[in-house]
């Protein structure tokens, strides 16, 4: 299975948000999208998820059916109904009518434990910290049976331990799926994706394996800051400020 974004242009209120963007994300190859604020990352995810209709170009999924029933999209800041409990969110997000039954809970319980949300299932989502809330959303995304998982900023609000742990957990759960995520953290993208798309001003600047694509020059230019490069395990490259 393969998700293909083919030459997508998106205009909102006569402003060009995405300009001839193409990418292809394959099953089992985690795909990151990076780029500075306003570069069109979130808009691109919304087009892929079907929230926005592209002005021109197409999004298609080869080897799968109706996108509405196979895509699981987690926005950066879901505006869930005020006063909703964690367990209600999980049940609704996963469409598990039998969540409260003995049968299906066994499957999801382990996922909840991996993200440590099993301790506050009865809490009101709005009373959780933003990090805890994020873990609930990620647990649902990890537990979905849908075969295309799209997450805007998976590690937002998470501390270093949970950013890493969550990405590891997610990768394990989506290993047979199409998985696309955006991130502001180049190092998260470098560590946890096998394919990357670098965006700037609504255009694709570079695309390919992070090992090949990421360079001090490219990222310093795209983000407009001086960076220093380190090479980590497996040849993955990481970046810190030059001063």
């Amino acid at each position: 299975m393969k998700l293909i974004v083919d030459n997508v242009t998106l205009k909102l209120n006569n402003t060009v948000i995405l300009n001839s963007v193409s990418l292809s994300a394959e099953q089992g190859v985690p795909h990151s999208i990076i780029g500075p604020n306003g570069s069109g990352k979130t808009s691109l995810l919304r087009v892929i998820a079907g929230v926005y209709k592209p002005t021109s170009g197409t999004v298609r999924i080869d080897g799968a059916g109706d996108p509405e029933s196979i895509i699981y999209y987690l926005p950066a800041e879901p505006t869930v109904f005020p006063g909703m409990k964690v367990i209600d969110y999980l049940q609704i997000a996963l469409g598990l009518r039998g969540l409260y039954g003995e049968k299906s809970i066994g499957e999801i319980r382990e996922v909840l434990a991996e993200f440590q949300v099993d301790n506050y299932l009865q809490r009101d989502l709005s009373t959780l910290s933003s990090g805890e809330r994020r873990l609930v959303y990620l647990a649902a995304a990890a537990a979905t049976t849908r075969s295309v998982v799209i997450i805007d900023e998976p590690t937002a609000h998470l501390d270093l331990k949970w950013a890493i742990t969550s990405m590891r957990n997610l990768l394990r759960h989506v290993q047979d799926k199409v998985f696309i995520f955006t991130t502001h953290d180049v190092n998260i993208a470098s560590a946890f994706s096998e394919h990357t798309t670098v965006m700037s001003d609504g255009r694709v600047k570079a695309s390919g394996s992070p090992r090949e694509v990421y360079s001090r020059e490219l990222l310093s230019r795209v983000y407009g800051v001086d960076l220093v490069e380190f090479t980590g395990p497996g040849g993955r490259r990481f970046y810190v400020p030059s001063t």
């Binding site: 919304r46 998820a49 079907g50 929230v51 509405e68 029933s69 895509i71 699981y72 999209y73 987690l74 926005p75 879901p78 505006t79 869930v80 109904f81 005020p82 006063g83 909703m84 409990k85 367990i87 209600d88 969110y89 049940q91 609704i92 997000a93 009518r97 969540l99 409260y100 039954g101 003995e102 809970i105 066994g106 319980r109 909840l112 434990a113 099993d118 301790n119 299932l121 709005s126 799209i150």
Partner: protein
Amino acid sequence: MSAGEISKPIFLYKRNLLLTILAATALFILEIYIGPGRYPARQVTEALIHGRGPAATVILDIRLPRAIGAVLTGVILGISGLLLQVSLRNPLAEPYLLGVSGGASLGVMAALALAPSLGYMAMDIAGFIGALLAILLVILVGELTGYNVYSVILAGVAVGGMSASLAIIIYLAKLETHQLGILWIYGTLSLVGWSEALQLLVPALLALVYLAIYYSKFNLLLLGDEQAASMGVSPKALRRGMILVSTITVGMLTSYTGPIGFIGLMSPHIARMLVGSEVRRLSILTIPVAADLTLISDLLARNILPGEIPLGSMTALLGVPFFLYLLSRRPAET
């Protein structure tokens, strides 16, 4: 977390559903047995079973249709409150506080001032038009404030207050001798006889059928617009439909009962406290809870004073403390 602990909610849901339905049944029977006529229980039973005796007329032609009217009123207000809360993402929303009921009663009053002997259908339409104009004003404020929870409610209270004032003025100026008395202005079931109860079946069934068809989409709306849109729901169109159904049903209801507040606020909240937010369980439980609240309020309205208190005043007595509790509990979420 054990499997038993997790499966507790389904048990609680069924138990709560059973209890609220039993309560509604008991209250329905009380509504028939207890009333200002003070008939002994034996005579009421005789009237119910054999259709005769000194109480027969009052029981069969007044209390029975009124009790049925109370249940239908609860169904309409409860579902309408739920639809408004979910569609506007506003836990404080309900038809009365959003000015829908007030707008409907103004519509009915205005129509009667123009033509005092209107049929049911014309009254229903007048109620709906008034309700629609009121909600459109509130939605306008919502659009301008990004549907801020409190701005929308304040706008609704203001529109409702203005509508009520205009309705009273029209009533005093032109309709003081009309059969829709002062009780109706404040909300009452005293005008609901058999034909009115039958007419109320229409909005009640409309609300129930709409809910049954669309509840799974309402669920997605709870996750936020983006996630709903990614699952094939058009949040805007769905919202419009929900608000329209709520406005039609409450508009029609109000032409028979006048404005009745807070049932639509309290019922979904009490149901949510019992079974959580998932809309299928929530809406199924909201219905008997709303019937319970309407029957309790009407029993009190009919029996605590020698004369009848308007039902709308009774529901406000119960609902305002509940509203204040919700206000004090909620952090400023928008």
